[in-house]
């Protein structure tokens, strides 16, 4: 059997760690979660020389081993637990050549844990432009390690890095900085109390604020009784440690690193002059937002029309080639239209993830945080809330996880609570189809499509609702927490196409699979409920024949009457009629009512549900859109999807909390059921009232 070693990939945020991971593992990677928590776990396999394989774990980016968030906690927990199956045989610290000094802080900490540590200096292709020169040999001697100069953009230096990984056992494990010299008296007492433990490790366990999960319990219990220093003294010692590390690093770099500031071409400051400008900065930011929404609506309509008609003909084809019967009906009327209802939105979702990953990869997102901080603070949020609010347009789940770097608990909680108001990609299917039905296809001023503007308005409405409720929560929540804020402003980078592509493919895939499973299940259940029924359902032909005695009906008209009679008397029909009184004041019929109830599992189910219900009720295969347009109110004879009911539906979906996965994440991130339940009831109540008001006013 081939031997396999564990490699941990570490580094500060913004050092291109993930692109190094992508280079090392290619597409041979999988993304999961750490057990019990929602921190993303990325691992992959890299083949080295002589059949040796490296299992590479991409750990969350961290500035140091002093954890202040769940993500960083994962790093420490792994590095302190020798029994973990992922405990690294060798660690790679990825550093950015332009921020070497700060990046080395983490390096010295990891090396001091006694783990063989390779330094990979990334973005080496920038050295010439920035007039940086490095004496690698001397630096290797001073840090007692191997250093690989790499460029993930140009794919350079990876052979050497892999070679160093292969030879990991020859690396020195001597510490860089002797931590005990910051407080000799304290450390000697520590040594006396735990003679068999590594001092630096003990020190880390003592000083962490976070709770350790699976860490060696034995050690921890002993430490709980070793309380000899006050919290502020420990903090002072931590600061001393940090300063001591920087002193070491400064001395090392003085001998090895030179930057010729005269010759450095500084694109960064020129770009920042515009992009963080107090006027132009905002103009550009809103321009970019506008561009994104225009793209989502306009550019993706071509592939969408294609997918829609493909699924319609697929249903028809299935009916033609398979023997008639219940099973064929289930596939052609239940599953295919249901799945079509999600596949159709792949173009939009891919566009959305594309833009968001470009904004993040390029370093622009941090500028937005900087520009928006003060404005956001007025509403009880932080500049860092912009990232969740913007990425919430893709999906609230990763967005809520992205709140972890917000330092103040109150600002973070408010961000978590209001993020589900932003228009996520699951709302998009509902919006698009209803806008297409009730908003005329016109151009305003010759260029902007009226439908596109409506969509933009709905996005703004989502942001507006988020901001306004944040403001309210800020007034009413009595939580005291220290407000503190620091953010790194990384260098601008042209996004690496491969990274962006991997993100878009991964995220789109997981969106489609995740939603696909729910939709498949719901469409099967719905089909069964719509195709069978009690009592009158089974005598449909008879009853319709009696009712229409004396009328001259063509065969086709009679079939339609029977089909709709059956649907109304099916199980789902009875359920729909039961809830109809609650949704009628909002302008909906029982079919929409069923679609709304089923979309409390996930919003995107709405279109699939309607597609399934309508296709059971009709004989011809048609696109979802045409079926919805053809729905007529049996009493008034007007279309079900008219301007008033359409607007009411749009508003309902804008505000309602219809996503079980989001509720589960909020429960996890806030550690209580109180907040998600609160969200569920408050948001749904707002949705109902607003939709009711809109319909009654417009009808």
């Amino acid at each position: 059997m081939a031997r396999q070693i564990n490699v941990a990939l570490l580094g500060n945020p913004n050092t291109g760690k993930t692109s190094v991971f992508n280079r090392l593992t290619g597409l041979n990677q999988k993304v999961g979660n750490y057990p019990g928590i929602t921190v993303e776990k990325k691992e992959g396999i890299c083949t080295l020389e002589r059949g040796l394989k490296a299992h590479i774990l991409d750990l969350p980016g961290t500035y140091s081993l002093n954890a202040s968030s769940l993500d960083e906690n994962v790093v420490i927990e792994l590095l302190l637990n020798k029994n973990d199956k992922d405990f690294p045989d060798v660690a790679i610290v990825v550093a950015d050549v332009e921020n070497l000094k700060r990046n080395l802080l983490l390096f010295t900490q990891i090396k001091d844990l006694g783990i063989p540590t390779i330094l990979a200096i990334n973005m080496a292709d920038r050295m010439k432009r920035k007039a940086i020169s490095l004496d690698i040999e001397t630096l290797e001697e001073a840090l007692e390690t191997k250093i690989a100069l790499i460029s993930s953009r140009k794919n350079e230096g990876f052979e050497q890095l892999k070679q160093y990984i292969t030879q990991y056992s020859s690396l020195s494990v001597k510490p860089c900085v002797n931590a005990s010299k910051i407080a000799p008296e304290y450390f000697s007492r520590l040594k006396k109390a735990f003679p068999n433990q590594d001092l630096y490790k003990l020190w880390l366990v003592i000083t962490q604020d976070v709770n350790f999960g699976t860490l060696e319990r034995g050690t921890l219990q002993g430490i709980a009784s070793f309380q000899t220093e006050s919290k502020s003294n420990l903090k002072r010692m931590q600061q001393k440690e940090t300063i001591a590390r920087y002193q070491f690093i400064n001395e090392v770099l003085k001998k090895t690193l030179t930057i010729d500031t005269e010759n450095a071409k500084d694109l960064r400051s020129r770009m920042d002059r515009i992009l963080t400008h107090r006027v132009w900065g905002y103009v550009i930011f809103f321009g970019i937002l506008l561009l994104i929404f225009q793209a989502i609506f306009d550019w993706s309509s071509y592939p969408m029309d294609f997918i829609d008609s493909t699924f319609a003909s697929l249903s028809e084809w299935t009916k033609a080639v398979m023997p008639p019967g219940d099973f064929t009906d289930l596939i052609a009327e239940g599953i295919i239209p249901g799945l079509g209802g999600i596949v159709i939105f792949i173009p939009q979702i891919a566009f959305l993830f594309l833009f968001i990953s470009i904004l993040e990869e390029s370093g622009y997102m941090s500028r937005v945080v900087f520009l928006m901080d003060r404005t956001m603070r007025r509403f009880g949020l932080s500049g860092k809330s912009v990232v969740p609010l913007v990425s919430g347009t893709a999906c609230a789940i990763p967005a809520i996880m992205a709140t972890r770097n917000i330092e103040s608990w109150k600002e973070r909680l408010i961000t978590i609570l209001v993020t589900p108001f932003t228009t996520c990609s699951a709302r998009l299917p509902v919006y698009l189809i209803i806008i297409a039905l009730v908003i005329p296809e016109q151009r305003v001023l010759g260029i902007f499509s009226l439908q596109g503007i409506t969509l933009m308005f709905l996005y703004l409405l989502g942001f507006g609702a988020a901001i306004f409720s944040a403001w309210l929560l800020d007034r009413f929540l009595k939580i005291r927490s220290k407000s503190f804020f620091v953010i790194e402003m990384p260098n601008y980078k042209v996004p690496i196409a491969k990274n962006v592509a991997i993100t878009v493919v991964e995220k789109t895939k997981s969106f489609v699979w995740g939603a696909g499973k729910i939709i498949l299940a719901i469409s099967i259940i719905l089909w069964v409920l719509a195709s069978y029924g009690p009592g009158d359902f089974n005598r449909a032909e008879e009853i319709v024949a009696q009712e229409t005695v004396g009328q001259q009906l063509s065969e086709e008209e009679r079939d339609t009457k029977i089909a709709s009679f059956k649907l109304e008397n099916s199980y789902v029909g009875h359920m729909g009629k039961f809830i109809e009184p609650a949704v009628r004041p909002l302008g909906y019929d029982w079919k929409i009512g069923i679609a709304i109830v089923s979309s409390f599992a996930a919003r995107e189910v709405f279109v699939g549900t309607l597609a399934t219900i309508y296709s059971v009720g009709s004989e011809e295969e048609e696109t979802i859109r045409n079926r919805m347009a053809a729905e007529v109110n049996p009493v008034l004879g007007t279309p079900i999807f008219n301007f008033a009911s359409g607007v009411s539906l749009l508003l309902f979906y804008a505000f309602a909390m219809q996503c079980m996965s989001t509720l589960a994440i909020v429960r996890r991130e806030t550690n209580s059921w109180k907040w998600p339940l609160w969200q569920l009831f408050a948001m749904s109540a707002i949705a109902y009232v607003v939709a009711l008001a809109a319909y009654q006013f417009l009808k």
Binding site: S232, Q238, V486
Partner: protein, 74 residues
């Protein structure tokens, strides 16, 4: 004593001192250490937050934190 909050664009200064209790460790870890040179890259409206260059490390902090950091102009 001047603080970081009063530093203007184009000026350079040396970080002198800050209170251990109030300023989080994270700021130190990101390179904001006594003795380092600091300059302002950009100020958001109302001088809050401020975008700093501390010895080549670029970060943004709020005015409330900047007030706690004592500097000496160069």
């Amino acid at each position: 004593m001047q603080t970081l909050a009063s530093l203007r664009k184009g000026q350079r200064a040396i970080i002198k001192h800050f209170s251990v209790e109030d300023v989080p460790l994270k700021l130190l870890e990101m390179g904001c250490l006594p003795g380092n040179e600091v300059s302002v890259v950009q100020q958001a409206p109302f001088q809050d937050p401020i975008y700093l260059n501390i010895n080549g490390s670029h970060l943004a902090i709020r005015k409330a934190t900047a007030i706690l950091i004592e500097i000496e102009l160069l």
